[in-house]
Symmetry: C2
């Protein structure tokens, strides 16, 4: 586990501290939620002084932005799918992976999209988010190329899919979802949308 403090007032090996802080923040986030994610709590758990957060991330927002990037890097893996003879099936599997990521990391997922609203993200961070989106665009383009989706602007169609997925998992995570079976409702929505896109 990261953040084992050897001794009071000992210099911790510098390379590991950044990772320790992010690990500590992720752990606190999922265990105790966003309000518990204080600079002091993260630093203590990582075995450093609060100052460590500022020397590495600038301020708390910088740490949150690091979590944002980490989240999208993880999401990128979650929606990646291996090649499939049926492009629509591959697309659907990626969508289910998207939902699974949100269900597995509800607090992180919420934080990722929260940040976009509240703080000004660097272009590099926004790029990390766009990488995940581009995977979706690729899957849509594949389905258009094979004739499984009506030809059109794959970015526009991918955006429609992303909007729908994001809304569904956001409401599910927030606990305001009136469907009986939320996984089934998610799948039904994706299927209806894909069917409607022709």
């Amino acid at each position: 586990m990261a953040g084992v403090r050897q001794d009071a007032r000992t210099r911790t090996s510098s390379l590991e501290v950044t990772a320790s802080l992010i690990d500590a923040a992720l752990a606190i986030l999922e265990e105790a939620g966003l309000p518990a994610l204080t600079v002091r709590a993260v630093a203590t758990r990582a075995g450093v002084a609060p100052m460590g957060v500022y020397s590495r991330f600038g301020n708390k927002d910088g740490l949150l932005e690091a979590l944002f990037v980490h989240g999208f890097d993880t999401l990128e893996v979650a929606i990646e799918t291996r090649s499939d003879a049926n492009p629509l099936r591959r697309l659907s599997i990626g969508c289910l992976g998207y939902r699974q990521f949100a269900i597995d990391n509800p607090q992180l997922y919420h934080l990722m999209f929260e940040q976009m609203m509240l703080l000004e993200l660097s272009p590099e961070s926004r790029e990390a988010a766009k990488r995940s989106f581009m995977i979706l665009v690729d899957r849509v383009q594949d389905a258009m190329n094979s004739g499984d989706l009506t030809n059109g602007d794959s970015t526009e169609v991918a955006q429609e899919l992303w909007s729908a997925m994001h809304g569904a998992v956001s409401l599910e995570i927030a606990g305001v979802h009136f469907a009986q079976d939320r996984a089934a409702n998610f799948a039904a929505m994706i299927n209806a949308l894909i069917r409607g896109l022709g």
Copy 2:
């Protein structure tokens, strides 16, 4: 305008204070954003001491919950539509009203769904949110009754629509939306979803 302080240390008429606090909070929220929405700022703008927030709403979360209810009451009006010979058109118009509410009150919209995730809402508050949802359910049921939508569980279908709408406006408000024309992309998504639902 609410919150005109007559004099230092004057008893303000009790009935108006609650409304003044909510008005002040809404104004600060849309003008300066969520971080600026402090108990002191709201109380000052409403012309009362911070204590006023606590005697009326319990704590800051209580004030936020009042904003939540106010938001859903306003949303309910925004998605309400007058009777229409074409049930699908009426449904679509309601959906556009939903988006317009979010675009017109981005900070409030964000806060409403933020609250659901972060704090435990009272059953009464949740009921206010559900009232808006039920309007959507009614429109879906109308379209099913007329044969414009395949018969099925109107709640499930309404949930799919709500998910999609919420995701689209959330991403649009957050500024992470890759479509050229966001209004058009929203309409295209709704149309595709309705088409896919049959």
